[in-house]
Amino acid sequence: MISYIVRRLLWMIPTLFFVALITFILMHAAPGGPWDRDLSARQVDPRTQELLNKEFGLDKPLFINTEGGNPLDSQFFNYIGGALRGNLGPSYRQRGMNVEDILFKPPEGKPIWNSKFGYSLRLGLLALGLAVLFGIPLGTIGALRRNTVIDYFSLLISTIGISVPSFVLAIFLIVLLAGRLKLIKIVQQDWSSPGAWIVPGVILGFGTFAFITRLTRSQMLEVMQQDYVRTARAKGLSEKVVVARHMLRNALIPVVTIIGPALAGLVTGSFIIEQMFSFPGSGREFVQSISRRDYSMIMGTTLLYAVLVALANLTVDITYGFLDPRIKVGK
């Protein structure tokens, strides 16, 4: 098992290298650069651009330095070299700040989970927690009480969740809860109170919740037809044991599979929530960096996402072994 994990972790290195390479090629293939700005205002003058390019190393060749000296003294390899040492490079737009500081450094005197990434991670976990906590039971009950009111209700909720985009849901909840019922405040100035997190968490997790509900339901329906379920019933096991031990456990394997990537998606996908609730997470860095050509931020957030997906997938693979002893990891 340990050697399996180590092997998987080692495989991440070439994976990340190619993710970095592809991202780097794509972002430099797009025209424009970090100093391009709104055209109706004064442009950054050429000399200042030159100075900035020099300051940020953008005057170096992209891949191979053919101008003599070290051939690896290029933008790409300097970046990789820095990243290996934990230096994700300076942000081109938030001057004076390194990408890792922007993402991981908490405000002065605050613990690490108050960093931007910490905020996003917590919100992502909350959203996933809510999705799992409500999605699996609802899907299970829907399958067990098939074609009853409960089943139709779960189907309705999950269809809404899958088809309604989160920004529509967000506005709907804001109008309902804040505008009409006056239950919450829209402008949150204090993210340290747990109550403030509920609405953003629900909005972020709703799509995943809907997906988990539908997946659990369809898997349960399939498992219910299996011979071993009939056998379990035939040997007189209580309904509770049949459902929990024989049906649910088998039905959950595909659900667990999607949880990994879903978590990575939720952690980096809080962009809309951040825009709407002035939530201090890292999702906006992920999205905005692209149109602003903040190269190091694009690289940093993409690599972070890649690491998250890789780790999530690894965790999922390991979890399979616990859920289904027939699956042997490491072989």
Binding site: A30, A41, D45, Q94, V187
Partner: protein
């Protein structure tokens, strides 16, 4: 699965939920104390002719209990990337700086340049030297001395190539500035040193009698109240430039101590402006309290910035009384106008930008003036403002917008006239629609721009019979394309927003050969001659006349179709009083004069 495993999973969930509930950081301690300060201060307002003198004796009680503080809650939208006077350049960044700092001069509600930290200024006879005299007893918000050396430091820092500020070029009139910015320390260190030394001499703080300030402790010298700027050419408009944020006197020791990220900490953002940055929580809120040491008096309310970028959510929050001022989004305009209450709270007034449909002078068919005239005359500006902008704009036929010096209300050429347009096209070297080469209408691909450009293409088809191809491109790609004369599209919509209210900024900076208008290939030697003369003319009346001639000359050639001026559009709650509106209100309504703003608490629900 055994009960034990379930218990373990449950335990993990419980722990996770506790973690998620997010260990609240201890709330900031509110220190409640009443400080009684007796202030005797002399306010001296000296303009060129009028001398006013008054002695104010007052007792100031600070630190009002928090629940009683009146707070003006503003949604600013995007959180700033950088709040450094010599590096910032975006509206939302300047909206912070303008609260904390003040320049040598400032703009009054009519966009006239009036004394600020400097009580007066004089130009030398040939306008190559500008001397500011600072107010006596000027201090920062923390009570420390603010003298001319502070401004000298800021202006030099703006020029210094190590700063690499995005607005560094705006002070290039100062002798030695372009050379210092252009030199390469690795290549020619001596030239760099020489240029830096020239700038040190061109930006010079001194005593009123011209003697040098204390060199050992320059910032402690209370008599050091004179700042002399020497230009490489006459610059009779530079007192207007001196109101810009690039001259704001952030403290050198704070910048040094705080390092690259000094601007993120309210501890280092000590300024001389009307407000003090009390706290700054990135992306969540910025909180300002009145500066008790500000020379013009104290604001009556605290100011709180929020950073919600989604306009629909900001609008809901406004309706929910969680904001006092927000920008009115075009999408919400119909709702606002239909609502009896909200329509009263809507404030729409002229802004500081002019937009035009650009024609590339070097790309066919717009090389032909008659074609440009035809396109300009077949564009119905009234319909555009009404149908496309939904009233959020004002049609214009000239370059400088109303409210700015140099506005030409008389200009009426190339207005909407489809018949004349067709005639002009027939007169052109292409002889009519059939002879025209394919024309692409290029724009940054957003839903809004799509609607706008589809409308434009449809109307040109209707009024002129021309078929245009729509050419949407990704936004940054669009920026990159349009700023280069070689890649700039045949035709596209573009605007210019004032840096400072002076004709020089509109005409010389934009349309002189080598200026920003060069991207569409505009270059007119006669125009250059006129603005060059105007820029160096000291007599204000003659200068204005020369700029007026230049603007008329610009319109003669119909280089572009002047289209519309933007408007400021804000929703303001009825209990907010004393808002002074100006065309330069690009951060929020009233930002140019925050001292008069009050909140009538009796009106609040």
């Amino acid at each position: 699965m055994s009960n034990k495993k379930w218990a373990a999973i449950l335990a993990v969930l419980v722990i996770a939920s506790m973690l998620l509930a997010a260990c609240p950081a201890p709330a900031a301690q509110v220190v409640k104390e009443t400080v009684v300060v007796e202030v005797e201060k002399q306010v001296e307002v000296v303009q060129t002719v009028v001398v006013e003198k008054e002695v104010v004796k007052e007792v100031v009680a600070t630190a009002v209990p928090e629940e009683e503080a009146k707070v003006l809650r503003i949604n600013l939208g995007t959180y700033p990337d950088i709040i450094d006077p010599q590096k910032s350049s975006f509206v939302n960044e300047i909206a912070h700086l303008q609260m904390i700092y003040e320049g040598l001069t400032r703009l009054d509600p009519d966009l006239k340049t009036v004394p600020a930290a400097a009580e007066s200024w004089t130009y030398s006879d040939d306008a190559t030297q500008l001397t500011f005299t600072l107010r006596p007893d000027l201090t920062y918000s923390d009570g420390s001395l603010l003298n001319a050396e502070r401004y000298a430091y800021s202006i030099r820092r703006n020029i210094n190539p190590e700063t690499a500020g995005e607005y560094a070029g705006i002070t290039d009139e100062i002798a030695g500035a372009p050379e210092w910015r252009a030199c390469d320390p690795a290549g020619d260190a001596a030239a760099c040193e020489a240029a830096a030394a020239t700038v040190m001499e061109s930006v010079k703080a001194s005593h009123a009698d011209g003697t040098a300030c204390n060199a050992d402790a320059p910032y402690e010298d209370a008599e050091c109240n004179t700042l002399t700027l020497t230009f490489s050419r006459p610059a009779p408009y530079f007192h207007v430039v001196s109101s810009l944020w690039v001259t704001y006197p952030a403290k050198e020791e704070n910048i040094t101590e705080g390092g690259e990220q000094w601007y993120n900490s309210s501890k280092f953002q000590i300024g001389n402006g009307p407000y003090v940055l009390q706290s700054l929580e990135p992306f969540v809120r910025g909180y300002f309290t009145p500066n008790q040491n500000y020379w013009r008096g104290q604001g009556m309310v605290d100011i709180e910035y929020s950073y919600i970028t989604d306009s629909a959510v900001a609008f809901e929050a406004y309706k929910n009384n969680e904001f006092d001022i927000i920008g009115g989004a075009a999408e919400d305009l119909e709702v606002i106008k239909a609502d009896p209450q909200l329509s009263q709270e809507l404030n729409t007034y002229p802004g500081s930008c002019t937009f035009a449909i650009m024609f590339h002078q070097l790309k066919e068919p717009f090389t032909d003036q008659k074609v440009r005239e035809a396109f300009a005359m077949s564009f119905d500006r009234e319909a555009w403002v009404r149908d496309v902008l939904r009233g959020l704009g004002a049609p214009t036929l000239t370059w400088i917008p109303p409210g700015f010096p140099g506005y030409d209300a008389e200009e009426n050429r190339w207005g909407f006239d489809p018949e004349a347009a067709k005639a002009a096209l027939a007169e052109s070297s292409y002889g009519g629609v059939e002879g025209l080469p394919p024309i692409k209408l290029t724009f940054s691909d957003t839903p809004r721009n799509r609607t706008r450009n589809e409308w434009l293409a449809a109307k040109w088809k209707e009024h002129l019979g021309v078929d245009l191809t729509l050419d949407p491109v990704e936004s940054t790609t669009y920026t990159a394309l349009t700023k280069d004369i070689n890649t700039a599209p045949q035709t596209f919509i573009l605007g210019w927003c004032a840096d400072y209210p002076d004709e020089q900024n509109w005409l010389s900076v934009y349309w002189r050969t080598g200026g920003f208008g060069e991207r569409i290939g505009y270059s007119n030697p006669d125009f250059d001659a006129l603005v060059n003369e105007a820029d160096t003319t000291i007599d204000p009346a003659k200068r204005t006349e020369l700029y007026a001639q230049a603007q008329t000359l610009l319109t003669d050639g119909a280089p572009v179709a002047f289209a519309w001026n933007n408007v400021n559009n804000y929703l303001i709650k009825p209990w907010v009083t004393g808002i002074v509106k100006t065309p330069q209100d690009s951060g929020w309504s009233g930002i140019q004069e925050p001292l008069t703003i009050d909140i009538d608490t009796t009106m609040k629900p």
